[in-house]
Structure formats: C-alpha cells, structure tokens
Symmetry: C2
Subunit: 438 residues, 2 copies
Amino acid sequence: MRLSRYFLPILKEAPSDAQIVSHQLMLRAGMIKQEAAGIYAWLPLGLRVLRKIENIVREEQVKAGAVELLMPTLQLADLWRESGRYDAYGPEMLRITDRHERELLYGPTNEEMVTDIFRGFVKSYKSLPLNLFHIQWKFRDERRPRFGVMRGREFLMKDAYSFDIDEASARIAYKRMFAAYLNTFARLGLKAVPMRADTGPIGGDLSHEFIVLAETGESEVFCDRKLVEMAPPGHDLSVEQLEGVFTERTALYAATEEMHDAAQFETQTAEGDRLSARGIEVGHIFYFGTKYSAAMKANVQGPNGKDAPVHMGSYGVGVSRLLGAIIEASHDAGGIIWPDAVAPFDVVVINLRASDEAVSAACEEAVAKLEAAGKDVLYDDTDERPGGKFATADLIGVPWQLTIGPKGLAEGVVELKRRATGEKQSLSLDAALELLTK
Amino acid sequence: MRLSRYFLPILKEAPSDAQIVSHQLMLRAGMIKQEAAGIYAWLPLGLRVLRKIENIVREEQVKAGAVELLMPTLQLADLWRESGRYDAYGPEMLRITDRHERELLYGPTNEEMVTDIFRGFVKSYKSLPLNLFHIQWKFRDERRPRFGVMRGREFLMKDAYSFDIDEASARIAYKRMFAAYLNTFARLGLKAVPMRADTGPIGGDLSHEFIVLAETGESEVFCDRKLVEMAPPGHDLSVEQLEGVFTERTALYAATEEMHDAAQFETQTAEGDRLSARGIEVGHIFYFGTKYSAAMKANVQGPNGKDAPVHMGSYGVGVSRLLGAIIEASHDAGGIIWPDAVAPFDVVVINLRASDEAVSAACEEAVAKLEAAGKDVLYDDTDERPGGKFATADLIGVPWQLTIGPKGLAEGVVELKRRATGEKQSLSLDAALELLTK
C-alpha cells in the first residue's frame, strides 16, 4: 500500500479528552474517529488491526470445534421477555421502536437469540455437543462511555454458546473454551491470566475472566506469578488433557479486586510468587446450565427418550477492546508497538528521497519482493521530511522499518529497524529482504 | 468440515410465507433463520456464501484503488440535519433515542458520515483523489419487508465514496467504479447489465443501476442483447480505457421499466438485439457533485489556493441481497446451483456407508487431500440414507459431489457429479482428486 494513496490521518496531538494512552495513540495514529459518545469509525489502519485480531479469534474458535454463524444486531424485545431479562437489563440496553411500533433492541449479547435458533432446529442429544459462535457488533448504552474503544457503546464482540446434554459434558465444553482462550491470547502476543469471576447478570455458577496485565490497567488484580509465564496449551486436546490444563491453572491463586481474599492469597501463594498488578478484562466465560433453556423451552430428547432443557455456557471476547488492551500493554514514548501477529503491516518501507529515481526504484523493488513473499507492506512514498517519516513509522508501530536513502544506496546499504527494541542494522537490500522474508 | 459436527438444519418444506424461490431455498438449505420481519440470522452455510461474496466485492474495490474503513452502524441525527436529510428520509429511517435522550439513527447509507470523516482530516487537493469504502450492516425500515434477504430491513451493503477536486476527475472516479462493478459481478458468476437510472433521494445527475437478469426478477428491464454478453473490462485501466469501457456500454440501450422509452429502444436497437427480461438490482452508483460537501462544508484547497467543496460520488452493492439474486439466477428443481466462486464449499464428499471402515478411510483420504490442495470440503459422514444425502447435496448447491460407497470401492471407482449439469462420471479416486484439484 502506497502511503500517498492511503488514508492515514496522523494527528500531532491527541484531543485533550483522551485520558488513557491507548485512546490517545489510536487517535494520533489515525486508527479511529469518534462519531458519537462511545461510537467510533474505524479508519483504515485501525480496521486492519481489528480484522487481524478478529481472524485470530475466529481461527482459534474453529480449531476448538465451534461453528460460525452471524446473528443480526437488532433483536425482538419479546425474545428477552421470555428469559425475563428485558426488564432486568436496565438502561444499558438500547431499546428501539420501529415504524410499526414493534419493540426491538440493539443486542448487547445473544444468549436469548442463540437459544431461539437452537430450539428452532435441534431436538435430539444426537446433534450434541454443539458450539455456535459469531463475531458481531453489539451495543451497550454505557452511562459514561470513555477510554476510546476500551469502554465504547458500539463494540465488536466474539460470543460463543455451547449446548450439551448434561452438566458433565457442558463442563468439558467450558474447559475447551478455557483452553481456546489461552491459545487465542497467546497468539495475540498477550499475557492473559484466567481469574475466577462473578457471574453477574449472565447467571450461572462457574465463570472466569481473562485479564491482560498492563501498568495502565483499569483494575487491580492479584495472582500467582507462575500463571503469567505458563505456555498456552495448544490444540486437539483430549478430555483428560483439558482437565489437566484447567486444574493446573485454577489451582493457582488469581483474583480480581472484587473477588480478592488477601488471607487466602498469602496461604496459597509463596511470597516470591505473589503478584499484584493492574489488569484489563479481555474475555469472560460462563457456565450457566439451564438458565435460558429452561425459561425458553429449549429442550432436547436424551438417550432415555425424555425431553430436558439443554445445558449451556457462553464465551465472550471483546474484539474491538483488544486493540486498546494490546496498546496499553505494548507501547513506548514513540507510539504503538504491535505484536507481529496483529500488526496492520508487517513492514514499512521508508523512501528518504521520493524524488530520486534510484532510491524509488530500490524501494519499489523491495515492496514488490516483500509482497510477493506474502508480507503486508506500507510504502512511505511521500515527500515528507525524513524526521516526520520516522516519527510516523514509530507512532503506528509497524514491527519492521526498512529505510532506503540516497547516501546509503550509494554505499550499497539500507537500514533495518526493529520497532520493539529500536535496534538498527545497516545491510545490503538483499540481506534485509532475506531477513524479512525468512 | 464434517457434517456430523456442523450445523446445517435442512428443512423438508419451506414455510408458506416464503414467496420467491431464493427465499424458499435459503430457508430449506438452512442458510438463514428469520428473527423478526426483515431481520435474519445467517446460519453457517449462509454465512460462508455471504463472506465469499463480501470478499470478492472487497478485492475488486481494492483493485480499483478504494481504501477500506468501517463506519459504525449508529449515527447522530444531527449529522443528517446538516445535509437536510434527517426530516426528508421518512419512516424508512430507524430513529433511536439513547439513555441521555440523544437522537441517533441506524444508518441506511453513509454519505453524511463519510463526508464528516473527510472534512475532519482532508484539507488539500494534494490528498485527492480518494475513494473510501466500507462493508457494514445497514437498516432500512421497509414498510413491508419480504422476499427474504432480497428486501430485508437489516442488510449488508458495500458502499464506496469518491472525493475529487472537480467534476472532470469525479467523472473519472465514477467510471472507475463502473468498470469495477462489471468486474465484480462477472467474478460472482452473474450477468449484470448497467442501466441508466433515476438518482432518487441520493441526488445528482449521473447514475447507473446494475441489473442481474433472472426470470423471477422483481422488475421488467429492456436492453440491447450485446450488453449481456460483453466480457468484463479487467483491471489497471488507463483513463482512456475507462472512457472506452463506459462509452461502449452506455452507447447501447438499457433501461429499467421506469426509465424505459419504447420508441427510443426501437430506433436505437436492431430488432434481433432487443431483449426484454426480468431483472434484479444488485448495485447502484451515483455522481452527485457537491450536494453533501457544500451543505456540510467539506472544502478542500485547490491548486489556486482557494477552498471549494469536494466533488463526490457514491457506489453501493447489496452484498446480502446478492445471495438472493444469485439463487434466483441459478437454481433448478433440486435446489441451488452456486457459481464456483461463491459456493459455500467447493466439493461435498458423500460417504454412502459411514459404518464401513474401508469406505470411511477412502473418504477421509479424499477430504485430507482436497483440503491440502486448498479446497473447502464438506464431508457428509452421517448415517443418513443415500437418497437423503444426494438430495441435501443438490439442495445446498455445492459445485462438485464426490460419492464413495462400498460397491464402487470394491470395483476401484468413485462417482463424481457436477451439480450444474448433473453430469456424472465413474472414475478412480485418484483420477477424481486430480480432476478436482487441477
């Protein structure tokens, strides 16, 4: 992508109402533009990262056996009356009346609708287990939206819903998603710790939040340091392996501020392993049994020939929120430092003198070769001054910067900089391309 | 994908309120489920086709130089007051009030918001030309939603917006999108004819609809037969080539019922070339100059140093509607016949006796090899009877059916059927796989 033909509106300064660093950096890097309180347009750079995160989340759901569908943003109020949540949900639910005076709402979550889909088609235990997920825009009418995409009103969420014949198999489905989340966040370059959580308005008796540790996190968390460093469990796990993954982690202390028990923390965790830190919630999983299926008559016939309500769990990831969480966890004074897996571009090629034919030819050769190797390349072909180009490249956080200028080219060298470490090396263009595409 | 682990709720009969064949077939094939009038959930099979269409539309936009962003579904009413359309739009606009009594709406289109984004960042002709597009859910509160996804209320639309310094360059941008649409619909396997159109509430003086010909189309259309058979123009066209593509097509008669002039049709078109047919609108493009930019003060500084409103056009494709249009244009008594490019799976492997180890081993080998070759494979590993499996495979319209059973396997043959023609051949598994992956 040539920067001269792209739409990357960099701001010199963030608006003063952006209070946290991820919000400031997303505005400065031209990733988002606010269109109303808590409602954002995703500018091209922001959308690229959003899609990369979404795709990783999707791939890990599919690897865990979940099947993707897509529910609409608007729902019938009557569906929520069946579960009893229409009145209970309160002012965070955006309630809408259409031209025929029918009551709709902008879905804040989808337990009711997915239960309706399930009961419309599935009648027998033979169709189970089943896990259906979608990645769709949601709306929660926060009283005080703030912190950019971290607490927006219109936000992108992945929500999965498991259906099982009994509690025992539902708990296995829960643990499968627990493991899938560990894999997902690791691929996103995050250290996310599962913490036992309150079930809140979703209901149920088993729930974990996944918390990313970041100095600027929204809340205080307490956990065993060993949890932070554990490797992700990987794929295609047997039920025994899933139990092992779950037990190994939940045996260690981990709690958010509201669930924290200082005495238990001290008993359970050696002093050197006690970590208290700030955290950001990026995922939340629930097992809630027959709460919705019983209310909404989502019954399946069991092997005994009798109908009974299906056992369910739900599993959410805040996809748009993850951009903020990743930036909070990975930035410096110069700007964003994207983990490789979610970076909007793999490399930015910086042309130090766009008016110089030899420099431009070398840049275009580099871009063509990198793209042929499957890399996403941003080519800064503008005539801005070098200092501005370097500042932009640092700000938008592309993992590699390949700089080509007339002086170096005369000496047969280009400069390659790794954004995360700041490490620079001078080398031939061929050597740089080999390093970037190996 | 193993059918036993998938979610494909086939219906024996379509609900009686489904009036047109695409709606009936999408319901029967388990592609959609209605959640409210004109509001559908996309079940896994439907979502796969929706994403394939969306990706083709996206790729052709990018090839034509448009840059993708993503605007939110909800918009501020005040933005539409600036253009004067808030009151003018009427009851089709879904108007919403949030908890703080702020007036929002569910975007039916995005001229206002994209103009707001443009004016927030772009100040000089040096940043032009620019074409921004997004693919996002829209809502139009149709008085009488019907025909499934063909006239839904919540629907997926690709909308692009071009920005140019003057009318001459804006008309080039228009022709670039005109050519991109021809390429897009051809890739989707459709014969779509551009027809001069009324500009309606969008405004402007230049507009074309793209109409798919189908016997069951919603309206009558009239055109020169030569238009239907013209090859798509291809990519990377010069301005001269774009002018040629546009002139060559617009010189031939083509009109929807409301724009039809029978006398002119006869004068302009030889009798043998006069085609009157039924059609479905799948795209609509507009040049409307400074209608929105003047009202909303989206000015850019020209080379002369003076500010003037930017010249704009907008370009829509009904992405979710295209599923209906494709089915209307391509089906038979047995079900859907997907064009290869948009099929939910490339091939369905039908196991005629899932209890037979040799048959299952051959099927799994076929699935593994096809997937290794990059094919999307549905594997019918269920224990349904063969007749039901064939009927399902025909109904869901996968282009190739590879059937493996005990009798054929003993003779060293499998059966390969092409859905579109019904042509069947018996051949060795290796020969079948070679044919499918070549």
